[in-house]
């Protein structure tokens, strides 16, 4: 299918929006555990987010460095057993997560060709 437009479903912009993340996940009908990808300078917000998501959405926090394919592959492999990815940080972090999300799905499809598609989620926090 050729899509004319492909847009994010939910955009939140406000003070302390980080606290709305669980609501966003719920509204997207996501469940289970996730991966939080953050940069060196944004890892404190990544940790904060993991705390906010708590037991409802247990999340592993992964710090990424340069925007390289090695980092993309590292994120993709860690995302394999997760239901969603949240990128916390600037352009580099968000770009890595967005590409890893495509790669991870390809790997997943090869490994689980009979299983149904999972929901996947990557949100961008424009924070630094």
């Amino acid at each position: 299918m050729k899509r004319w437009m492909l847009l994010p479903r939910i955009v939140v912009m406000e003070q302390d929006a980080i606290r709305d993340t669980a609501d966003v996940l719920r509204e997207l009908k996501l469940d289970g555990s996730g991966l939080i990808v953050c940069g060196q300078h944004t890892c404190s917000f990544g940790q904060q987010l993991a705390g906010i998501l708590g037991n409802e959405y247990p999340a592993e926090v992964l710090i990424v460095g340069s925007a390289s394919m090695d980092e993309v592959e590292r994120v993709a492999s860690r995302a394999l057993d997760k239901n969603f990815v949240v990128a916390v940080g600037g352009g580099r972090t968000i770009d890595i997560a967005k590409i890893a999300s495509v790669r991870e799905f390809a790997v997943y499809q090869r490994a689980h060709s009979s299983k149904s598609r999972r929901n996947r989620f990557d949100a961008g926090f424009y924070t630094f």
């Binding site: 997207l28 993309v72 926090f125 424009y126």
Partner: protein
């Protein structure tokens, strides 16, 4: 959607997933160093020349063009140019303005199905600097300076772009970028090789003389 990854030979555009949601915490962003918000403004002001490049590609190459995406993209730039004097460090209202403009710029790209409305010759210049300069500046900062020069090539209002960037606190020249003049010229010469399939005002490239002239006239180098 595509995103940029660095390889030894330079940056490459790779297939990426459109996010299901975007969450912008304006309190966190307002606490960040102002330099980063100013760089974001440079990335949005890029749309000014990106759309001019797109129009050129439509006229000269018959490239597919979306009026809707182009108008939305230019609106983002106008938001920033018109509010340039109100964009101040650590001010939440400034953050809202910039995030709004960034979102409409992203929607423009989603509608076009490519980064065409927001990435043209000025982005090529920035990516060329990433390759040529020993210590590149921030992506958005480089794009802002690129927009000044590419606007000049297009016969656009490069002085307005320069003034706005200056008032926001973004660099407008080589010194501000912390990059030596020679690398600015090298990047101008190399820029045509970045994503060569994307047609822009750089066309077949500039001669060294023209590149030096361009950087001097726009006061990017001395």
């Amino acid at each position: 959607m595509r995103a940029s990854i660095r390889f030894k030979e330079g940056p490459q555009s790779i297939e990426a997933q459109t996010p299901l949601a975007v969450i912008a915490d304006t309190r966190i962003i307002a606490q960040a160093p102002h330099r980063l918000l100013a760089a974001g403004c440079g990335d949005i002001i890029s749309n000014y020349t990106a759309v001019k490049d797109w129009e050129l590609a439509r006229k000269l190459r018959g490239e597919e063009f979306s009026e809707y995406a182009a108008a939305l993209s230019l609106m983002s730039t106008e938001i920033i140019l018109n509010a340039a004097t109100q964009i101040k460090p650590n001010l939440e209202d400034s953050v809202r303005l910039v995030v709004k403009a960034l979102v409409s710029s992203s929607v423009a790209m989603s509608i076009a199905g490519s980064s065409r409305p927001a990435s043209g010759s000025e982005h090529k210049f920035s990516h060329a600097l990433d390759v040529k300069a020993p210590k590149p500046a921030l992506h958005g900062e480089q794009c802002g300076v690129g927009t000044i020069m590419m606007a000049y090539l297009h016969g656009g209002d490069w002085q307005r772009i320069r003034q706005s960037l200056q008032s926001i606190g973004a660099p407008v020249d080589a010194r501000g970028l912390g990059i030596k003049d020679q690398y600015i010229v090298e990047a101008l010469l190399y820029a045509k090789n970045v994503r060569p399939e994307r047609y822009t005002i750089l066309g077949e490239g500039l001669t060294r003389k023209a590149a030096e002239e361009l950087a001097k006239v726009t006061r990017v180098i001395e």
